[in-house]
Amino acid sequence: MAQSDTDVDHTAHGQSMGLLRVLGPAHVWALGVGIVLVGEYMGWNFAVGKGGAYAALIACWFAGILYSCVAMIDSEVTSTVAAAGGQYTQAKHIIGPLMAFNVGLYLVFAYTMLEAGNAITLGFLVDTVAGMTGHEGGLDQRPFIVLAIMFLAWLNYRGVLATLTFNLVITAIAFCAIITIFLATSPLLGAGEMLHKDLMSGQASLPYGWLGILAAMHFGLWYYLGIEGTTQAAEEVRSPARSLPFGTLAGIMTLLIAATLTWYICSGLMPWEYLGDGVNGAVAPLFSAAQISGSSALVWLLGIGTLFATLASANGCINDASRAWFSMGRDHYLPAWFGAVHPVYRTPYRAIIFLVPIALIFALGAPLDQVITFSILSGLLGYTFMPINMIMFRKKWPLDTIKRGYEHPLHPLPAISLMALCSVTYFAVFLGYGTQLIAMIGFYIVVSLWFHFWRYRFVKRADQFTMPWPRPRGY
């Protein structure tokens, strides 16, 4: 077996084959925003259906506060835990193994289900394009669903730099498409076709009252779901303490702008009854807005934007799910076989391969709304862990014990706000998907019991803590 010096890291611990540190802050931005931006192109408008356009705007901003707290908390903790696995690794160091196992599963399921949802959407988009070009009888969507997953898995397998550079380009195009349609339709530069006053007055202002606002919070998450995925790049960025907070915080700012502009454009062009029906009405509201504008250039641009946003999201999800799975394998929380790194491409190749058939099964065999609900609920459970994690982190390792790349302000206010907003969102989700919520919590309880009574005996307890942290205060 021939090996060059570039294949291995020579470290104080001997030789090891690790992931490559080749990413910069722009890639971190592309990873976070890339996963999320599809939520601006489709899905968020179900919030309009739940409570009208004003309810969707309030949900957009409250969810924006929730995710700003997530981004700030993640930025501080991850700037000190520069390892793959993101919140899983944070939980392992700060809370304990059972929480870490659960958080790892939340991450893998949230991202793999979202990847499956994106692939289903991509198949639908290709079918729509075929219909628009005169194809009759509908298209078999399966080959396009499978191709999306296989191509992106191959790209991820071949290396993280190419994968996230690809994400950077297509995410930037999708974001610029939103800015372009805003400029073209708003009174600032364009024709000023907005009809907010007519479309949002009287009964249309808040059709279901304050309960509608609460119900809209469920789909308010769509505007930002996945920004926390930036932390999975921690082991592959050149300067984690600088790049991760910079990329994550720039990402949430981008999304706050994109979400508000998207709401403004769509609610000013479509009545809430049509906009809020994401199945038979505005399936892809920004694309529908482009069609209403009458500009064929905008229709093309937003069509491409929708396609790119979907691809970028699936791509980022493969990246993040595989890093979480790989980290759990490396720590023996799962079979160590999954903790392998490709000696040439330096990617967690077995984790990438293992998750491909799982994504395919869900993409080809499960309905979109169930797949997405499973993803949202797994994400929400992960957000609930974050405030607990943050409070324990500051208590065990105060500011003067570990050097942070970023210190989030007003602690513990963001952690408390995040917990309060998570509680509101649980109630909102319970209103619409109570059975799924209970079934999923039941699932995580069962796997926790399996981990506690069986799997934990295989974990090498000392080996999993290799970060050069000081002892926690009080220990």
């Binding site: 077996m1 090996q3 291995v8 890291d9 470290t11 104080a12 611990h13 030789q15 090891s16 084959m17 690790g18 992931l19 540190r21 520069a82 390892a83 793959a84 696995g85 690794t89 075929a130 070009t133 194809h135 298209l139 078999d140 080959p143 396009f144 499978v146 191709l147 296989m150 191509f151 898995a153 191959w154 397998y157 082991e235 980290s327 490396r330 720590d331 160590a336 076989w337 903790g339 392998a340 790194v341 490709h342 000696p343 040439v344 190749y349 077995r350 391969i353 491909v356 003067d400 014990t401 570990i402 050097k403 999993q464 803590f465 290799t466 970060m467 050069p468 942290w469 000081p470 002892r471």
Partner: protein, 62 residues
């Protein structure tokens, strides 16, 4: 049968190609390198070399 039907077949073919590329490389790597080498990655190794966190009034590390 129109262009879109041919595109469907093309998508199946490309999917199979990407799958094949991954599987061939996977087998090649797993048969060329030892399991020890492939699973030798350790968390935080780079940081262990470059960073030292100090406790206030002490220097204990985990």
């Amino acid at each position: 049968m129109d262009t879109w039907n041919y595109i469907e077949y093309g998508a199946w073919a490309l999917s199979a190609l990407f799958g094949l590329l991954i599987v061939i490389d996977w087998i090649k790597i797993d048969t060329t390198y030892t399991e020890e080498m492939l699973t030798s990655s350790r968390e935080g190794v780079l940081e262990a070399m470059t960073e030292k966190h100090k406790l206030e009034g002490g220097d204990g590390t985990i």
